[in-house]
């Protein structure tokens, strides 16, 4: 994404944030839009590494005895897939790429509250990624992305400390992004832009930032304790000393369950934007959807024990966590119902972002409901640590988060690059991704309930049929991911030049040119309209309780 040569027949662009092309203007930028792009390059790279590891795992699982990889290499691959996807793609992607780019524009600010910390966040992300890559190249880690002790502290190979250091550094990148978003949303809103006139994407980014700031430090300390225990040989997780491996799991899941809400909440925000724009209609029940976002962030901190029903945790804690896990499902249900109601009596068009949004709603609902099955302690005893769980969280992560990220990327692509992508190719990619995804992960539900355990390099023959289906689906899904890369790159050179508001959407980010000028707004916008006030026949003006 370097130079943007003005082709002969198009008029020369007036100066925008992409005009300066020196290396220094990219590596020392404090412009939130450029930092968003820098993050985009980063996560695309890590996404490719993670997908490559997934492809190797899926290919290896085609045969029951697992001929492609040795057991040791297989373990390293699924650990690599887990670590890279969770910390270097799912958590940073929507907040750091789309959020960094769009949040200041949406609230009428010139930049985030602490631009230099924003750049530091990118550097920490890249350094953390570099250290993790070094750990992978220097032999890799075979503990799984969960690093359960005492395996990770006493039995795993020596690279664990390097990878733990990489994730530790990357954690601070998340904290800085979260801190930046909270202060920006609190302090830099344009005058007249009250909380209940903010677009939904800002609400979900705010809720995500709350989790980023409040959960990541516990992970940082946990990883520090793992490293200390590996060096010192003594630690509070070592059962021989009277330590407790379940204490590790408590601290780990205290971070990791809110982390899955870090991954899904921004996706919900993007879908709220897409559904309202392409149905040309106000969001149904705006205060409830906004409240549900924050409710998910807060309740998300109370439910981590449902990962530990069979881990030796007390039965009575199991009841408490199971009940709270059912409670956290309610706000998600409210959101899905409100999206459905938004579509009622709208005038719906099916550009690419809308296809991704509808795909998201369907798959996220399915993923969320299988979550209800896992929250039921009795069923979880049978399906915990099987492919049922793998299918559940991939439905949420890939079916939910990745589709929403793709939808958001297509929706704001004209604003980011000033170029339109070919919509027909986009729709094809969306449909291919949807089909590939379902073929990959639905058989895993069935296989999981049959008892196929997770992280198995070789498995009994009766599961082979489902594994072959899943690998076939994975190849289609791979095609579905490659298509956008092709036409996005194509659009940079020969895409139609994008107008300021290609989708005729409401929102402050569409009032500036695309690509936007370096300082976003010539003068801070006044007279803020209520969010999503699309003109629909005979609709009285929406009076939001501001």
């Amino acid at each position: 994404m370097n130079a943007l040569p003005a082709t002969r027949r198009e008029p020369p662009e007036e100066a925008n944030y992409l005009s300066a092309h020196t290396l220094r203007s990219w590596l020392l930028t404090t412009d939130h839009k450029r930092i968003g792009l820098l993050f985009l390059f980063g996560i695309i790279g890590y996404f490719l590494i993670g997908t490559a590891a997934a492809a190797l795992v899926r290919l290896d699982l085609v045969t029951p005895q697992g001929d492609l990889l040795s057991a040791e290499m297989y373990n390293r691959m699924f650990t690599l897939h887990g670590v890279v996807m969770v910390w270097f793609f799912l958590i940073p992607s929507i907040p750091s790429v789309l959020g960094n780019f769009v949040l200041p524009l949406m609230i009428g600010a010139r930049d985030v509250a602490f631009p230099r910390l924003n750049l530091l966040s990118w550097y920490l992300f890249m350094i953390g990624g570099g250290v993790t890559l070094y750990a992978i190249l220097a032999g890799g880690v075979d503990t799984g992305w969960t690093f359960y002790t005492p395996y990770s502290t006493t039995y795993a190979n020596p690279q664990v400390v390097t990878m733990v250091a990489g994730i530790f550094i990357n954690g601070f990148s998340s904290i800085l992004t979260g801190l930046n978003f909270i202060i920006t949303t609190h302090k830099l809103r344009a005058p007249g832009l009250t909380w209940f006139r903010l677009p939904l994407f800002v609400w979900t980014l705010y809720a995500t930032a709350l989790i980023l700031v409040l959960a990541t430090p516990v992970l940082a300390m946990l990883l520090l304790l793992v490293a200390v225990e590996r060096f010192w040989g003594i630690g509070v997780f070592d059962p021989a000393q009277g330590g407790d491996p379940i204490l590790f799991q408590h601290l780990f899941w205290f971070y990791s369950h809110p982390a899955v809400y870090i991954m899904i909440l921004p996706g919900m925000g993007v879908v709220s934007e897409l559904v309202t724009c392409f149905a040309r209609k106000r969001l149904f029940g705006y205060p409830f959807v906004a409240g549900a976002s924050v409710a998910i962030a807060v309740l998300g901190f109370l439910v981590w024990g449902h990962h530990m029903f069979v881990s030796g945790q007390s039965i009575y804690s199991g009841f408490v966590f199971s009940l709270l896990s059912y409670m956290v499902a309610i706000p998600s249900a409210i959101k899905v119902f409100n999206w459905t109601a938004t579509l009622y009596k709208g005038s719906i068009s099916f550009e690419t972002p809308m296809l991704y949004a509808i795909g998201f709603i369907g798959l996220f609902t399915a993923g969320g409901l299988t979550g209800l099955m896992l929250a039921a302690t009795a069923v979880d005893v049978h399906v915990s640590d099987t492919y049922f769980v793998v299918a559940h969280f991939h439905y949420i992560m890939v079916g939910g988060m990745v589709l929403a990220f793709m939808g958001g990327l297509h929706y704001w692509w004209p604003k980011i690059t000033g170029r339109m992508y070919p919509d027909l190719a986009g729709r094809l990619a969306a449909v291919v991704t949807f089909i590939g995804f379902n073929l990959t992960f639905f058989p895993q539900f069935v296989m999981g309930y049959l008892g196929m355990p997770r992280r198995y390099h070789s498995y009994p023959e009766e599961f082979q049929f489902y594994h072959i289906l899943s690998t076939a689906g994975a190849s289609i899904l791979g095609v579905g991911y490659l298509l956008p890369v092709v036409y996005f790159l194509w659009s940079l050179k020969r895409g139609k030049r994008a107008p300021a508001n290609p989708w005729d959407a409401r929102g402050l980010e569409w009032t500036v040119a695309s690509p936007p000028p370096t300082h976003n707004f010539h003068d801070i916008p006044e007279g803020i309209r209520p969010p999503y006030d699309y003109p629909t026949p005979a609709t009285p003006p929406f009076t939001s309780p501001s």
Partner: protein, 332 residues
């Protein structure tokens, strides 16, 4: 290539879990219909350019929100109640269950029956009799998982976990390790063979005769010198162990704990973790001197000491615990 949808229901609990799963599946299908259905209809009916009445009545928003909050809430509470009941039964082993010792170590399962017979990666069970597994690990966390019984429980190093089931269907069912435990995690598998009861009794007598864990435990009890303090009128004041299993033990600092297998095991390895009220913490730790098998054998021996029987085993002092006045109700 047969492709079953449900694993065999080979234990009493399996049917219950499957019924609960079908209930949850029903709820999932219901909610999918209630959301995906209207979405597809709206997308078709209200597609752009389709001339249809789009005048919107903005009233009724709050009532609608309330309905689709309360209905999922009640369904969720119902589901929680249903699964909690089944889970409570899943984790309540009956007292008369046959206790089989299971030890997980990196990449194999070692099983020992109460009569002493040992097995590796194999588990032979009588049909129709409640079985309770007493499990611990020698190195990392494993998980003893039998899909046909719908039962799984992590096996922790330094901790004793239990799971129980009543095998009903005879035959051979796969056994897996479900918690990632290293390179050959996927080779830590085996088979559970359920046999009619007489066949099981006959099977127990075949093969090499091993000493039963309780007897081995008693031998080890004397070898390690435990009897020096805990038996008879010895100079050192230590709680007598007759009938200790299952009783409520008052600890220093006012807490009480039920003397279950875990408490007995912890008292041997980590004696100063739960010190009995009124006794000095002077018991040496046997960490590193006792293997997991011997530990389970000692626990079995201690449980055989007058557990439930009123009389004292010859030569074992009367149970000596804190004054009866410190009575608390039985644990909830």
């Amino acid at each position: 290539m047969k492709f079953p949808l449900l694993p065999d229901q080979a234990s009493l609990g399996a049917g219950e879990v499957d019924r609960l799963m079908l209930l949850l599946l029903g709820v999932t299908v219901f909610f999918l219909l209630v959301t995906a259905g209207p979405i597809l209809v709206f997308c078709f009916r209200y597609r752009r350019g389709n001339r249809v009445n789009r005048v919107l009545d903005p009233r009724g928003g709050f009532r609608l929100e309330l309905t689709w909050t309360l209905i999922p809430l009640t369904i969720a509470l119902g589901l929680f109640g249903a699964s909690a009941a089944v889970y409570f039964r899943q984790r309540h082993p009956p007292e008369d269950a046959i206790e089989i010792h299971v030890i997980g170590r990196q990449w194999m399962w070692k099983v020992q029956h109460p009569q002493g017979k040992r097995e590796i990666n194999e588990l032979h069970l009588p049909a129709g009799v409640p079985i309770k597994l007493l499990m611990t690990s020698q190195d990392v966390i494993h998980s003893f998982f039998i899909p046909a019984f719908r039962m799984k429980q992590d096996v922790l190093p330094g901790w004793l976990t239990t799971q129980w089931f009543v095998p009903t269907k005879t035959g051979s069912f796969p056994l897996f390790c479900a918690e990632y435990c290293g390179t050959d995690h996927s080779r830590m598998v085996g088979h559970v063979t359920v046999m009619p009861r007489p066949e099981y009794v006959q099977w127990l007598t075949t093969g090499v005769q091993e000493e039963s864990p309780a007897l081995a435990g008693e031998r080890r009890f004397r070898q390690l010198g435990c009897s020096g303090c805990h038996v008879g009128q010895s100079a050192v004041r230590a709680p007598a162990l007759n009938g200790v299993f299952g009783s409520v033990v008052p600890l220093q600092g006012g807490r009480t704990v039920i003397a279950d297998e875990r408490y007995l095991r912890d008292s041997i390895l980590l004696p100063n973790k739960e010190i009995v009220d009124g006794y000095a913490p002077m018991m040496p730790s046997y960490q590193g001197q006792i293997s997991e098998e011997e530990l389970l054998a000692l626990v079995a021996y201690l449980k055989s000491l007058g557990a439930g029987s009123a009389g004292n085993a010859p030569g074992v002092a009367a149970p000596v615990f804190a004054p009866a006045s410190r009575q608390e109700g039985g644990a909830p």
